[in-house]
Symmetry: D2
Subunit: 435 residues, 4 copies
């Protein structure tokens, strides 16, 4: 890989997230991007064209020389890439809406990444991700695949287990927590270190340091009042006793694990009130966004992006690309093969932990052992993830049922069976492996 | 320890289980019991006297020379013991009834050994068990403490972690499964081997062998229809798809983990129908039992014992004592320190696995790795158990809350907080460590 | 496998060890052997005929109905076997003599199983053992292969790693230690339990129990004077300080690891005095033995067998066959896949540890952790074994050199290179994988 | 700790290494050192005064404001330190000379850090290091102790196991290898990353990267000819076959493990030729050095320092202090608590591996598993180190003998006993724990 002249390919280039990513690359000092290629399926032509035009305006305004291309020839694009960023969505937002509704029927959490909704998304997405990765393996085995596609941890684990490509999974939650703390304390983001561990959307901040000083208990006290929020999740404060019992900052997604009944109730209320599920809301935001993108006068990121969720996504992606491309040694919290980073989890699991990233890739820091207060839940969910990946790859209905029975957000084996039946029926078009 | 002339002490000697145990000892070929000492608290005098008289009739009828004594001097009795059997119940059946009712208030399973009920029992029982064990450590460190007291796995783990005594925990579920299979196939119980692993009341039979022949799939097919039942648990068949997904025979207690909603509903119906919880039923059975025991004509085990639960308890206890006392090498499924028997669990956990038992003690067989389909649940519950033991010993309310939040039968952190509050209030007399 | 009517095949049936094995089977109560088939290569016809005739006389004298057959059709014999016993010797005693002489040239221990001699034997033997095992895998995958062929640990590890057959490795050292202790104390051999662990010819007795009583320190005191000897190893006492530092009974082969200089000196003296290496002595004993076997009046085991080494070999083999065939649950020290029996060694290593043996096979008991005083040496030799097996299978000269450099009995990388060169040259006929 | 105004204490301040360290601190951009305190024992007054005066000239010449103090009040100095650097030598160079001579008597390697010489040094040094650390624990538990004292790995392990201080061990070999490669390729030292693992003086470079590009095979080819040398070790090239078999760059100290006979021969020749052991040579170099230091005209580091060994010692020390003091995130190869960095070694071992160092301390990167070609040797030596530390702390002669028997450079248990006897006799004054 050349230090300058980086070539980036975005698969699912017509996504509404693309402009933010482009903005991030434009702001990246030191990194010289040569070509940016958006790849999508022909059915997504209209969206990709709108996004591409808007991005070209952003590039032009920034006075940058980045060349932006679009193509439907995925294989051709992959062959030329230094970095491949994936943000495709199998079945689109319509399938996501279904993922959210099916579990709700049986009183279970309906969510894009956790619970039975995340399970359904994994079954649809993993085979497509593996197909892409095997293509990359053939035409360009040294490229980096940076995976944004949710459920990010499971997709990355499938990629690392079943292909030989170089892949790192990303999530915006860790950087959001770090930046939120930096802002609150008015310190340089560089000064903040997080001792954070777990799985994607199931992680915990065990230690918070500013310039090496441990300020964890300060933050925990603060957390017993308001809170760091992520737009994807309904705003909610943590109970002070819960924070006291943990002595750690939980990923906001823990709300689903610790208050599933309340989350189900809220989701049902939204649906009954006619506001629909999160997918329905996102569809509306996307309409606004694309209206803005289409507007030839629009040369800045529209305000609606804030409501889209995914804060700092581009920031962490750019950090990662810089470290890999420029051999900058940075500590970044990413989704990587566990090895012995968390010794209580299988070695070939993907975990979300701090890694030293440079031109060689992401080397996880040792971060075990996990405290008993969350170790069991993480192990339980990892077993669920392992079974889910296995089911997605083999199309085994038995393994799929075993997976769902291990998901803490599925309340019984009976509900697991009903949800599985509905998923396999209603998403049949996207699940050929189960045919 | 002398090979002949074994001295056995039963702590909680006034228990309705004692006569069955005595019967087991009377039937044990090879084992020569010298003295059997029942120990209880003065408040239990009446029951202990009734039990002792009845047992003396059993001994006399068998033509045995066993001497049966009663005492309230626990320390004195412990000092003379080769084997100490514990079956005391802190707070009696009244406390158990409370354990069952508190969780039900909040829609959670109310049960003696699993869920929040087992948690409450552990908090009350562990300090008393440790006190007894430390006494034994002082006066007779080479004696064997055979623990029947529920939750048997957690109590045994507390004993092995916090004292230096030699202790083995027992449960009747493994032997019940083995004997049920032997009966169904009309083979010698000795011919049946179980490849079984997990925790007390959370175990799985991975392999079933008759004279070394693997008959697991045969049994699984059979299991998809009727089933091996344990009197403690409402009769219920396993769903065939669930058995297919597992490929293993689950401990009947798994009904609580996989169908908690249904179990709660049944428990509530029983209460609403005026039949009360399991504790209430047991109280009635106990009345019958003691009426029978009191009857001077009664010289055989009364039929009501069958409804008491605990089938084969005496059989497995006698097997264990024979192996230890006579250096017989037998494979028995017991609750022992894990070491590396199940490598995905902490080394100082207590697990329920096959062990080679002889005069040296119980040496667990290697039995890892665990299949992903149940590994996560077992790890989750083990973390809960570890936190519960820690809370029982330290009296930390924070650790207690962390424990309950890790119990898969507690549906939310909110319910965990309510249940914990009620337990600490309503059992305050039995929980001085939290004062 | 039928409980009665066991069919046993001995590969390398013309070995001088066969009659002792037959005697063991004749004495085995309970075990009913139907057919015993000796298999050898045509070049071994004369020896096999002599052995077969002698064994038939032993069978006749015992009044047994065992049918003894000979054949050169190995595949045909394997297809009919319940148990396959291997005691072949690739290259015969002549190759062994070479194994002993090559290292001596460079001042290194020359021995059949440890050091560079054992390395050479492994390179020759493993491919032949694997060929046999793959044949068995094809024609009779449920048969048991009981491996006597040295180096027994490495050969068994190769079998378990590279084939799917059921194999257990045997050595006579553990049973010799147990029986020696039983004799010394005049107790029933059944009363003695050994807590023994390590690798074949690199094992340690950490605990000795009689009827469950720990008598280890008694034995250690006794050991500081005379000692349990094995005929294969020149008689030698352990230094009392060494025993004190260990607190364990070392396998007699430890003499090679802890006193290599002295062992080399003795071996050289034997050679210079014209007595040759151990192989030369064995050749002479074999001549005597075959003279006795040939004698039609000979109907008992000849006295010269005692000088042949291998005491109790038949005893442990028969114990193992009885446990497997009759589903007798016995604790036997065997060479098995480690799993987590010794957690500081790789899971797919073969280790020499106590196992519970019944009709299912040999399930190792948990026996970790190893004391630091011997852990490192065992790990070092296991790495050497792993590399040696890898070299034997792949024919990689680089891996072979890495293996020798890891053998503690090879004094330098320079000597390793010289010895490897000589082995590959002088045994070229037996090492086609390196061609 | 203040980001500016760092206070550094050097224990063993009169060492000839001190001026180089001071020079390193003077060259450190960004790091602002307030006070530098040299501590020594009164017996070392003359040397410390010479060193202090020379260092003050270096400081003055650099135009720096660092204040340099000397004291014999160790406790007082420790109480004020941000960083404590240890480079004391128990028994001085005279004891080192003895360490080198005793093993040579019995044909074993006589060296300061490896073999029986390193063992003797560890026995003398560890109690003194622990005494210092416990003082620091009391008066200033947040200070960093940066350990230079050899054997650096064992001393650091003793500190981390037996005290609660924050300590990191340093060695100059890793940085020397990295800088040598950077020089040879004429690239920025920052561009070079080493994938290096093992123990102090027993480590291996598995991967070499320049700006993320893997150039390992290139370096290995190069290594088959000349070589990276360390002044402490007699110049010697690696055999090309050995490098081929390993596929890694060995630490130069591996010469002792792989060619002990040749190393002994050379050491004996040096002694017989009247040049003495390495200690004798160092004593002469020290005389020259102190002559130079004493010279008021000397305001640069004297040329003789190059012959002293220890290249880049100050470079790596300054890097470490900068990272810790300024929260700079750097990857540095240090001696740290293992955790799971090398999963085949005990968790509380100290290992030499890459760590992410910032204001929080040194967090080791995951770097397992180790290749079989060196895993066993490393495990063997780690067991030796563990036993040595235990012997140094407890004064157990049995443990000391077990330690020596596990050192691959001690050829037999007999030699181990003789060497141990001589060490305990001849160093009795420095080994009160064995009295």
């Amino acid at each position: 890989m050349k230090i300058s002249g980086v070539r980036i390919v975005i698969v699912g280039g017509g996504s509404s997230y693309t402009p933010e990513l482009v903005m991030g690359l434009l702001e990246a000092r030191g990194l010289s991007v040569d070509t940016l290629t958006l790849v999508d399926v022909p059915a997504g032509q209209e969206k990709m064209d709108i996004v591409a035009d808007f991005c070209r305006r952003l590039i032009k305004k920034a006075g940058s020389a980045i060349r932006l291309e679009t193509t439907y020839d995925r294989k051709g694009a992959l062959a030329q890439a230094d970095f491949v960023l994936t943000q495709f969505r199998v079945g689109g937002l319509a399938a996501r809406a279904q993922d959210e509704r099916i579990p709700l029927r049986y009183g279970a959490v309906g969510q894009e990444t956790v619970g039975a909704g995340g399970f359904a998304k994994a079954l649809r997405t993993i085979p497509v991700a593996l197909e892409l990765a095997k293509e990359l393996e053939t035409v360009n085995p040294n490229a980096w695949l940076i995976n944004f596609t949710n459920p990010s941890g499971m997709v990355t684990q499938a990629l690392l287990r079943h292909t030989a490509i170089r892949s790192i999974g990303l999530c915006n939650v860790p950087i959001t927590i770090a930046r939120t703390i930096a802002k609150a304390l008015a310190v340089d983001p560089e000064a903040v270190s997080l001792d954070m561990f777990g799985l994607n959307h199931l992680s915990f901040v065990r230690g918070i340091y500013v310039n090496g000083q441990n300020i964890t208990s300060l933050v925990l006290e603060f957390l017993k009042n308001p809170q760091t929020a992520v737009a994807n999740i309904p705003d909610q404060q943590w109970n002070a006793e819960v924070i006291g019992a943990l002595g750690m900052v939980p990923n906001p997604y823990l709300q689903y694990y610790w208050n599933p009944g309340e989350m189900v109730q809220r989701q049902r209320q939204e649906v009954e009130a006619g506001r629909g599920t999160r997918a329905d809301i996102v569809m509306k935001v996307e309409q606004e966004l694309f209206a803005d993108y289409r507007n030839p006068e629009q040369v800045t990121l529209p305000e609606a992006l804030m409501r889209r969720g995914g804060a700092y996504y581009s920031a962490v992606a750019v950090m990662l690309i810089e470290s890999l491309a420029l051999n900058q040694r940075q500590e970044i919290i990413v989704n990587v093969r566990n090895g012995q980073a968390l010794p209580e989890l299988p070695e070939d699991s993907v975990v979300e932990v701090p890694a030293m990233v440079d031109g060689r890739g992401a080397i996880p820091l040792t971060c075990g052992p996990m405290p008993a207060s969350v170790r069991g839940l993480i192990q339980h969910v990892k077993a669920y993830e392992e079974l889910t990946i296995d089911a997605a790859v083999t199309g085994s209905r038995q393994t799929a049922l075993a997976a769902l029975m291990n998901n803490p957000l599925v309340p019984s084996e009976e509900v697991a069976r009903y949800i599985l039946r509905d998923i396999l029926q209603e998403h049949a078009a996207w699940l050929p492996q189960f045919a």
